[in-house]
Amino acid sequence: MNTVWTVITVVALAVLTVAQPQNVLKVCLDGCTQAVTTTISLMGIYCLWLGIFEVADRCRLVEGLAKCFAPLNRWLYGRVSRAAEQYISLNMASNMLGVGNAATPSAISAIRETEKGDTLSRSGAMLFVINASSIQLIPTTVIGLRASLGSAAPSDILLPNLIATALTSLCGVALVFCAYGRAR
């Protein structure tokens, strides 16, 4: 991340300085302002879901969910702590229901449980790849945009989209197995 970020930013800023020096500061400040507004809206989303998760946890619903997912999770992620197991189950359930909003807070909590060192573990890599290539049943944003721009059949892309996301997920899991071996 360090190299990618620094190289891209330096090159982009250098090009921008040559082309339109008066805009450099504005562009950077805009980025920071966007971060503030995004953080506020994320806070709202996390607030709702972490609240609901806490209630579900106190009802021992999360424990039950973790039991349902145990065989799958053991195969995908290997042995992880109890807390991580529960967060991962919440994350998998959110992904399957297509609630990307709810998947993020549970994934962050899970990663904080599994990652204690400075090198990403196999479980962390698997969680990241599954979330970054997750099966999306209905791409609501894209369909909405298509409809608003006068598409004759906005949901015409459902089938190819489903096949494509299923393919990327399978491939992602397979690549993690190739790179890290089987879960221990």
């Binding site: 930013t9 953080t39 996390y46 806490e54 209630v55 015409d156 096949i163 992602g172 690549l175």
Partner: protein, 167 residues
């Protein structure tokens, strides 16, 4: 589909009532954690947004698109959607703007429009997700995670262009 989430929310709260859990306390307690969580993500978001803004404003992305169009066409990806594929890992709002652009130029129901739709739906903002997920951990070496996720995005794009031809 519209009923799944509302029913789930109500079911959780009702289970709380039945099991005599203090639902109100639980919600408040969980909601409180959202402040810490989002604040710990904030500086990483700032870094990503500054990079994306600079990249887009400098016009460097258009230049890179031109260079990469020929190798992408070998994979069956039309050059009109290359910019979308390249910007997608960095920025959700940026790639949505490009998608709108593609729709307005080529039409939503054209082959290019459908391709772009599936590419958008089957890929993720990999660098954005990485910065959010690894925020607040000590992880500095992410190993294969990011290359694998990027490879999946590319595979999704190739599959999208292929599937839109057939289906």
């Amino acid at each position: 589909m519209n009923y799944v989430l509302p029913i789930l929310l109500i079911a959780v709260l009702v289970t709380g009532l039945v099991k005599r859990v203090n639902v109100y306390d639980g919600f408040v307690c969980g909601a409180k954690k959202s402040i810490d969580l989002s604040l710990s993500v904030f500086p990483y978001l700032a870094a990503v947004f500054v990079m994306v803004n600079a990249l887009h404003a400098s016009g460097a992305d258009v230049y890179i698109t031109k260079i990469l169009a020929p190798p992408f066409s070998l994979l069956g990806i039309p050059q009109e959607v290359v910019q979308l594929i390249l910007l997608r890992p960095f920025s959700g709002s940026g790639s949505l703007a490009i998608l709108t652009d593609v729709y307005n130029t080529y039409g939503t129901d054209s082959y290019i429009g459908r391709c772009a739709s599936v590419i958008m739906g089957s890929s993720e903002t990999v660098f954005y997700v990485a910065s959010v997920y690894f925020a607040g951990t000590k992880v500095r070496h992410t190993g294969w995670a990011i290359p694998i996720a990027l490879a999946c995005n590319l595979l999704g794009a190739v599959a999208a262009c292929l599937l839109c031809r057939v289906l």
